[in-house]
């Protein structure tokens, strides 16, 4: 029940809704007592033959009034209580999202997206259940249960009530126990299902191997076996699930039996009328639900608490990269200078960058090359402050990166990442990502610079074509060029291309590079690449190996050095030849 305390802030915030909702629930619980009473009274009159038209009309009016009032109140408590619980999940979902947008890549490295999604879906669902059905079952089982028992005891017969109540706690106990068992066996069934899922996934990914060895039939047989396991585990669930109704029916049956046997005795004694006995049995029927609800309550609350703990822990994760207090509102502009002694990713001992010192003047182009894992991307990630904690400093326009507000720093940088991620939106929306109000002239200009305009016109809906995961699939090169257009739209002070030309052919690469040269006069550009032709024109080229700069200079200088750069350059030239069939 602790979770109700933890959710106290929300109940306080939605005081009105919860108080009125609970109040309505109580009234409904009370009104429910009326019809059985009326049945008893009318039955007695019928038995005595003392029914009059007036009397009948009176009770009919009472029933109609009670019926309508119950209907209306029931509708409203649902809106109040269930409505609030949906609101709670909305609030928490927004908070989670807000939190997610503030977390740095280090956080995303250590958490899996699937898990984060699960928190935002399953856990919120469980919390919503607690704030809705949990509150309902708590209030309703106590109030309905309490009212009914009190009415039975005080208006009919307390002796009979005590006798008939004896079996009912067993029902609450048994159903709650079934609930735990069901949960456990359901978990096992889910596991079996998930391994069947894995098996299917595996078979489909490995379909070529299966076909190669002609083992389709055998694999189907294996699948059949696994699906047998799913069936068996689910039958266990079904068996436990099927225990509920018979148990309830036997226990309620015993209660009914007791009430009729002992009730009959009291009727003969004259302690009860027959009508009262009938009312009594009807009341007994009303007790089933509160008993079940009580058993449920524990399961709901237990799950709700675990979920709330997880969500609270997630929301409590510290935001790692924040603005310094004295950070300026200025957008940085000017030379970029690296003075880094060492940098290692959080939690890792091996430094990924060592002794990186260079200066890039405003308006110049820097090329960074090297093998995969040499540290090229890391070097750029420090610039956009995705990671911090390096030994040394990086200056932009004469001031350290931390002296600028994060938002202002990033306003100066147009970043094109290695893994070109597009959103499920139109091409135009993707290009205008940084400025949704950009007009089509601006968007087309950016697309033309990135040499993707012609391609876009070929798409079925032109700039309105939906791309991304749920849109048309584009080639790697097209995605790269849209990412470039996205960065170019902001006409950034500093453009950073992180191996973003790898999937375009040599001709396109050349076209993009010359377009950049023409349109970005006086602005700074950093390019990392595997293909040396992409950076041959740079004012400064750095060759990285194992996090260190092993060669530096212009293309001409490096070609003279007879080192890694020259060898690589020749190699790639020859590769190019081979790709074109040797001519």
């Amino acid at each position: 029940m602790k979770v109700f305390l933890e959710l106290g802030w929300f109940f306080k915030q939605e005081k009105k809704a919860y108080i009125s909702g609970v109040f309505f629930l109580l009234v409904v619980a009370f009104l429910q007592l009326v019809p059985p009473k009326v049945i008893g009274i009318v039955a007695d009159h019928i038995n005595d033959g003392t029914v009059t038209k007036g009397l009948l009309a009176e009770w009919v009016v009472v029933l109609v009034a009670v019926g309508l009032a119950t209907y209306i109140l029931r509708y409203y408590w649902r809106i109040m209580i269930f409505g609030s619980s949906v609101k709670l999940s909305k609030i928490l979902r927004n908070r989670l999202y807000h939190h997610f947008t503030k977390m740095s890549p280090a956080f995303y490295q250590k958490s899996r997206i699937g898990d984060l999604m699960a928190h935002a879906t399953n856990d919120l669902q469980a919390i919503q259940q607690t704030a809705g059905a949990g509150v309902l079952t708590l209030v309703d089982s106590l109030s309905t249960g309490g009212f009914v028992i009190l009415t039975m005891a005080f208006t009919i017969s307390w002796k009979l009530t005590l006798i008939c109540l004896i079996p009912l706690p067993f029902m609450a106990m048994l159903t709650s126990w079934f609930g735990t068992m069901l949960h456990r066996s359901f978990h096992k069934a889910q596991e079996a299902f998930s391994s069947l899922n894995d098996k299917t996934q595996e078979s489909i990914t490995g379909i070529k191997v299966i076909k190669t060895f002609g083992q389709e039939q055998e694999d189907i047989e294996d699948f059949r076996k696994q699906s047998d396991d799913v069936v068996q585990k689910n039958i266990v669930v079904a068996k436990i699930d099927s225990l509920y109704d018979p148990t309830i029916s036997i226990i309620v049956g015993i209660s009914f039996f007791l009430s009729i046997v002992f009730g009959a005795k009291y009727v003969l004694n004259g302690e009860l009328t027959i009508g009262q006995l009938i009312s009594f049995t009807t009341y007994l029927g009303l007790l089933i639900w509160p008993m079940l609800a009580f058993g449920w309550l524990f399961n709901i609350v237990e799950r709700g608490r675990a979920s709330y703990d997880r969500v609270a822990k997630l929301l409590g994760e510290k935001v790692e990269i924040t603005d310094q207090k004295q950070a300026t509102e200025m957008v940085p502009c000017g030379d970029v200078e690296y003075r880094i002694h060492e940098f290692a990713y959080p939690g890792e001992l091996q430094p990924i960058l060592k002794n990186i010192q260079f200066r890039l003047n405003k308006g110049e182009t820097l090329g960074i090359v090297g093998k995969t894992g040499a540290g090229k991307t890391t070097l750029l990630k420090l610039l956009i402050r995705e990671f911090e904690g390096y030994n040394g400093e990086i200056l932009f326009g004469g001031a350290a990166l931390q002296d600028y507000k994060l938002e202002k720093l990033r306003e100066a940088i147009g970043y094109v990442p290695q893994d070109h991620f597009l959103f499920s939106a139109t091409v135009a929306e993707n290009i205008a990502f940084t400025n949704p109000s950009a007009d089509c002239v601006e968007i087309e200009l950016a697309a033309k610079l990135a040499n993707i305009h012609e391609d876009i016109l070929q798409f079925t809906d032109g700039y309105k074509t939906i791309v991304g995961e749920r849109g048309v699939s584009l080639s790697g090169g097209q995605k790269q060029r849209i990412s470039i257009a996205r960065a170019l739209l902001m006409d950034p002070e500093l453009l950073v291309l992180d191996d973003s030309l790898s999937a375009v052919d040599a001709k396109t690469e050349e076209a993009i590079l010359s377009a950049l040269k023409e349109n970005r006069e006086g602005k700074t550009t950093i390019i990392t690449s595997h293909r040396l032709s992409a950076i041959a024109h740079a004012n400064l080229i750095l060759v990285l190996e194992d996090g260190k700069i092993i060669e530096r200079g212009t293309h001409e200088e490096l070609m003279e050095q007879n080192g890694w750069y020259r060898e690589m350059y020749l190699h790639q030239q020859l590769e190019e030849l081979v790709e074109h069939g040797g001519h």
Partner: protein, 597 residues
């Protein structure tokens, strides 16, 4: 991510009938379940009548003989207990049937998937196929377990209650029939309204999750382009829409679900009480009948509630069903064989004659490919990515059907051998040696139960995989995790070699089998390959030219054509494409410069 499916009423019914046709093999169990259901329903109906007899015949007249009362009481409890037991079995049976039906459906879908050609897998994401086999069938299971079972059980009970009412009092029962159209009206109204709102909420939810998922994936982009605020507000909007849809559902449920059914209950109560009240003006009314009627009314409405709450599941199951059936009706089948007698591959001569091929019917990826590999010879295919090497193997392995040209094995068209024969005699080793979850032994054996443990170990020894396997914890019984992630790529490849050797093929087909090998296992792999090739015709795609220098014939492919052919020395002498590739791989910088200039 799922395409939206809008089904007309007729299509929905068709899907339902097709789903129901899966019940046919379970006729006997279903009959049993129905008999049990019938019995429990009879129990439900009889019990109040026993109480009625007690009230009217014994209690009211004060006739309290011990013996008949004991009999009546025992009968009551007896029926109660028997009914509970039967109820248990009945509930279990219905769920069991549902589970077996779903299992069959799953196996059908899975078998269908296995029968499809690779072409289908090219155009369909693996995730969505898996979804068909598991998640969609799971949604259908929910329908069978909860919806159909609830409907049948509730329907029986309702029917039984009406019969009992008619037995007790025909006039009143007729009056109570009025309730039915009202209930049906509420149900239909609810179904209509809720299916719309429910669908809307599902859609909002999937939008919400899609947005969240995408944002999490693209968070780095959102942050570097400073769009956090905008995305937050976009997410907030979708969240708000979802909230509103949720509220609409609560309202509809509040208006038409339990509260409405309870209101109808009150009206039914009024009818019953008024009827008895009015009747009692003239004649005396038996109190037991009142009891029984009230009791039946109490029981009458719960099944109705149950039925209505399950309606939304039905809709989902039908949509899922239509997707599953679409896959079952898919006709991109694997190429068929035209078996002529029991032809056997004896020697292993492979010939390609003027084979041209296109995946999409537009662009040819193979143009007039002709070559022959004599028994025991090695033919190597080299060329740049996309030159058509893998396509040659795809055709040879019968993964794709070809129309132009002919492929002969031992002089006979490849189509004339049985599938089993082809799979048995052509052994393919893939670039990415896919390992399955299980043990090392399972992975060498695959599902071939004819292989003994000795044969498996022999095969491993033959390719020298035994040295590293025996060092593993539990040796051949070592657990292979998902995709064999704990092994190096070389070790995985050795296991795959053992797998192929264990099957003892006549023709060996290597699809870049040495491409991703770490240096540690390189040597072991090379020795293993040399041994494997001995006495077998080998068709090899080679990434590293060094591995195929001793091939009898090397074909150099470019854009689907064979541009050079010969052995290693001949090709080097030609100073063409092969020569350049050779220089490239051997890193001879100085010679490279000569070639470029």
């Amino acid at each position: 991510m799922e395409e939206k499916v809008q089904l007309s009423e007729r299509e929905q019914r068709k899907v339902l009938y097709r789903l129901l046709s899966y019940t046919k093999p379970h006729k006997r169990t279903i009959t049993l379940a129905f008999v049990l259901l019938l019995l429990t329903t009879v129990g439900d109906i009889v019990l109040p009548i026993l109480v009625k007899i007690f009230l009217d015949d014994y209690l009211t007249p004060g006739n309290l003989e011990f013996k008949p009362l004991l009999l009546l009481g025992s009968l009551y409890m007896g029926i109660q207990i028997v009914k509970a037991i039967l109820l248990f079995f009945q509930l279990v049976k219905f769920q069991e049937i549902a589970l077996y039906i779903i299992q069959q459906l799953r196996i059908d879908v899975f078998s269908k998937v296995q029968a499809l050609g690779l072409k289908y897998f090219d155009k369909t994401p693996a995730g969505s196929i898996v979804s068909r086999v598991t998640n969609d069938t799971e949604a259908i299971k929910d329908m069978f377990v909860t919806v159909l079972a609830t409907f049948i059980q509730s329907g029986f009970l309702l029917f039984g209650i009406f019969i009992a009412m008619f037995i007790l009092n025909v006039k009143l029962a007729l009056l109570c029939v009025i309730i039915i159209p009202i209930l049906i009206f509420v149900m239909v109204l609810y179904r209509k309204m809720s299916s719309r709102f429910y669908l809307e909420m599902r859609e909002r939810l999937s939008q919400l999750n899609a947005k969240l998922n995408e944002s999490l994936q693209g968070m780095a982009i959102i942050q570097v382009f400073r769009q956090e605020k905008r995305l937050r507000s976009e997410f907030g909007d979708i969240n708000e829409q979802h909230y509103k849809a949720g509220m609409k559902n609560i309202k509809i449920d509040g208006l038409l679900l339990r509260p409405a059914i309870d209101l109808i209950y009150i009206f039914a109560l009024i009818i019953v009480l008024s009827y008895f009240g009015i009747t009692s003006f003239n004649t005396s009314v038996k109190i037991g009948v009142i009891y029984a009627f009230i009791n039946y009314l109490d029981r009458f409405f719960e099944p109705v509630n149950q039925m209505m709450m399950r309606l939304s599941l039905y809709q989902q199951a039908i949509v899922a069903g239509s997707r599953v059936f679409k896959l079952l009706d898919e006709d991109t089948l694997a190429p068929a064989q035209k078996e002529e007698g029991a032809s056997q591959i004896e020697k292993g001569k492979v010939e390609f004659m003027n084979v041209s091929f296109s995946y999409d019917g537009k662009r040819d990826v193979l143009k007039n490919i002709s070559f022959a590999a004599n028994p025991g010879e090695t033919v190597a295919l080299v060329g740049h990515t996309g030159s058509g090497k893998s396509s040659i193997i795809n055709l040879m392995m019968r993964f794709y059907e070809f129309e132009r040209g002919e492929i002969l094995i031992d002089g006979e068209s490849i189509r004339h051998y049985s599938k089993v024969e082809i799979r048995k005699k052509l052994g393919l080793v893939l670039q990415d040696p896919f390992l399955f979850y299980g043990t090392v032994k399972d992975n060498i054996r695959l599902h071939n139960t004819d292989l003994t443990d000795e044969q498996i170990e022999e095969a491993a020894q033959f390719v020298q995989a035994n040295t590293f396997i025996e060092k593993l914890e539990d040796g051949y019984r070592h657990k292979v995790v998902e995709r064999g992630a704990t092994f190096s790529s070389g070790q995985r490849q050795l296991i795959a070699f053992a797998r192929t050797i264990a099957a003892n093929p006549k023709v060996l087909v290597l699809d870049e089998a040495t491409a991703n090998i770490d240096t540690e296992t390189e040597e072991a792999i090379q020795t293993a390959l040399a041994k494997m090739r001995k006495g077998r015709t080998t068709i090899a795609i080679a990434h590293r030219l060094s591995t195929i220098q001793d091939a009898d014939l090397i074909l150099v492919l470019h854009q689907g054509e064979i541009v050079e052919r010969g052995n290693h020395q001949e090709l080097l002498a030609q100073k063409g494409l092969y020569h350049k590739m050779f220089l490239l791989q051997n890193g001879m910088v100085e010679k490279m410069e000569d070639v470029i200039n």
